[in-house]
Symmetry: D2
Subunit: 290 residues, 4 copies
């Protein structure tokens, strides 16, 4: 799954399944000289018998004869009969990330290292925190740090300030890297493109202190879950999960230590896949084209 | 963790932690010429500050000067000051297993293969099922098959019959190998040494159709859990868990297929550890000395 | 990855990469009314800069207007310009499997269970063994058992007999389910469609007694590898691998026990993927379209 | 496996197995009022029938009546009859670490984070590198950075300088965190307590460019191995391994990216276990008491 260096266009589409969708899309791309570098689709069928088409197509732009500016309208014409939802992305557009943190540094450190060195065209443009603990880390990385403390009484106003900041800085995606605050439905509605890491193997142990819950229950495996934040706590579409074996010998502190290694990996993988436009949410699920 | 061929005695002990427990036990064994082949213990501390000692000691019998018949009384004297709960086992006692099944054969097949070929001194002495599907399998293995169908109205009487059967056949442990019936609290009370396999990553997806629940929730990893059956459904002490990665491409049928591979492994491992007296339940948890 | 119930055609293609391959293939299928249910391709680039196109397309047959009998010639016309290698398969053709075994039953048992109950259109038509140990198992399953003992002096003649048997029984694929004999290059040349399970994490521990080698080396993880058999021992294209954690506590016997669980899973998964025409070998590697 | 806050003494012992070793050791500790908090031992038997005793005992010091200074001599008396090799450690002795790096930062970053925040009494006292790339990272962390470039002609002299530096700074353990240089047998002899991370699943792919080797071989799983450095390249006792699944879609760059996540985890876990005195090397293996 290397990020292609030749600029590409990426189409994500979800709609009711009917025969001919892939043929229509690949023909459209071929007619305009586009060279397909990735085609991935899946038909999801649940118990109701309803079938959903989920697809991702990626093609190279240099040989594509339609100008970028004309592409959305042309795709609208192609996709309208499918009566679904589609988005278009270009691989050479730098995406702007806001990282929301609290006091723990492991996820933020991992995100910083990857966006500097890795193969994704993205940059962290700002850090938001309700605490000052990680300011030195942001300063060292040369990233603007916004200290926005939250109390029960200030929450509503502070979230408005956050939304304005995201807008002003043209942020594309918010990553909650152990933010430890619950974003209100109003915030999520205002900025739906938000990825959270929850430190449990969802749907187990929703809510606070999942490692303490796991210890009390005596599970033998713990995990972490990256998901889109939605209005309902820890119930958004799951992007990625991973787990690690524990034993009765592990204290809550051991669970936290082992779990943090999983958290940072899972969150960074989820963010990377999202930045590569490989995640397609549908209903309460995601298709991960990887 | 090889099963020692030299006969051994195994002591499992859970009690409030105080200094000197291990010293007292190892000294007692040494005084009578016992050669320790395994010492494993752990002190579990929860938030309340209460500390629990959990231990397992195993020593060779040939050089041990106390006769087996005198050992329980001697241990009672040693352990009484610890005010806990202890059990004593001998490695050369063949344990008698009853397997409860419904229609699925994968777990039963795996148990059959292992108890015939493996390093544990145990035998499956009978199979109980509410269906006739697996009778040929039991017949081929030369194991008594008891067809005990259950309906809402017959459940109570049938469970009584099952308990009598277990008693008559001197069964040591019941293994619910996808039995798909909920045992009543009365049964569990009458035969507490019962291991169940639940086809989810507990505490996620308790109750019926966990793979359907997992599909609907869109998780990226599924699992299976072997646990002691207790009066509360799917809430007993967890012995072993394992998980397997899935994707949006997997249908419910794929989840079932992938999950069954995990189920049989997890259940067989849990049963083997229990037969080796390596599982010590305490509260709603287990220590697994492996 | 459910096996589609609607009959499908499957095209596997490997050739030098040039722009337009996917477009040409999807257009061809569309022109004849085929509804694509899976498109998967990848361009592999090694250090030499040589790029290989590897692809798999699957489309439904009921709406496809070309008769099955005409399809090979039509595909020949389409694919000739790509100067590569392609194969065509139909999902409703029952594949015939020969299982080669020695004394260990775990892999054979697993294959038997899956081909009876699972979603792949295939059947085990015969078992070959140099020992009689597993004859009762084959008899119980109603599968012809061929006892073909091999010694250094009889090997050549026996392999000829085996090849004739495979031909007479129209066998599509040979599965070496812990056969423990090395097939000669002559055999492999005569029947190249042979999958072997090697009980190590190749390329570590080629040759005999890999668990003993792993024990002596003190590794912390062991594994198993399913691969196509080639003239060079344990060097064929790898299809699937899996591993399991071990510790210094594990004896060689423990390694064997833990390893066997991995062997059967890996082998069965590899065989299933091969029967679904999802494995495309190229050079010394495989693409696994799953 | 929490690091006990009460100071403890830790004894590691390897010797020929004879009955009574554990009894002798636990009795000795009990006689002087020591409260055992961990007892772990294993008898390793290879094909030759030779049996090795491998053990670790940990007991609390506050109630132990022997002064620390007298303990070595007393243990010498106890252990001499076993004719083995033993070492004694105290949990409250801060261990001094030297990290050897080249240009890659991921392992060093992970070690830095852990030694600052975690439960092990250790500190990184210096960094050695043949390149200047990671100097800013060491500077930011306030750790002395020694730039010691190595060429074929200067290697011998530079290693002497390194050994003198380690001695002057009273370094306890060297961690090769992707140092990418081969230490000479002379260095290893001069400082045997050296842990290396090799970026393959040893014994597969020894030597240079293991990810390129793995790509060329077409394996489906890659891994990393932490081991003690010995005179023979990549052949020292293995401490810890971990692996990650790859596919034909992964380029060499993908292997490197995925592999680095494994490398840092494996190396940090190995170093942590070593600092907790839970690793006992014997022959070309290790016992890991965890």
């Amino acid at each position: 799954m290397p990020a292609p260096k030749t600029p590409t266009a990426i189409l994500l589409l979800v709609c009711k399944d009917t025969p001919g969708i892939v043929t229509r899309l690949t023909s459209f791309i071929a007619e305009h000289g586009g060279n397909l570098v990735d085609v991935d689709f899946h038909v999801d069928a649940d118990d109701s018998g309803e079938k959903l088409f989920l697809g991702r197509l990626e093609w190279e732009l240099p040989t594509f004869t339609l100008p970028r500016a004309s592409l959305p309208a042309a795709l609208e014409t192609v996709c309208t009969p499918f009566a679904g939802r589609w988005t278009l992305h270009f691989s050479d557009t730098t995406q702007r990330i806001a990282v929301f943190v609290s006091k723990q540094d492991h996820c933020m450190l991992d995100l910083l290292r990857r966006t500097s060195f890795d193969d994704v065209d993205a940059q962290i443009v700002l850090v938001v925190s309700n605490h000052l603990d990680l300011k030195p880390l942001a300063d060292h990385a040369g990233i603007a740090f916004h200290h926005i403390p939250i109390t029960a009484s200030t929450k509503q106003a502070q979230e408005v300030a956050e939304l304005e900041l995201l807008k002003a800085e043209r942020v594309d995606v918010v990553v909650m890297a152990k933010y430890m605050q619950i974003l209100s439905p109003t915030f999520i509605e205002g900025f739906p493109n938000t990825i959270n890491i929850h430190h449990s193997f969802l749907p187990a142990f929703v809510g606070g202190k999942p490692y303490h819950q796991a210890f009390a229950r005596g599970v033998k495996i713990i995990g972490a879950t990256a998901h889109f934040a939605t209005a309902e706590l820890d119930a958004g579409p799951i992007i990625e999960q991973e787990c690690v074996r524990i034993s009765h010998r592990d204290t809550v502190q051991d669970l936290i230590r082992k779990g943090q290694d999983v958290e940072r990996s899972v969150l960074s993988r989820a963010v990377r896949l999202h930045l590569l436009h490989r995640i397609l949410p549908y209903g309460n699920k995601t298709a991960v084209f990887a």
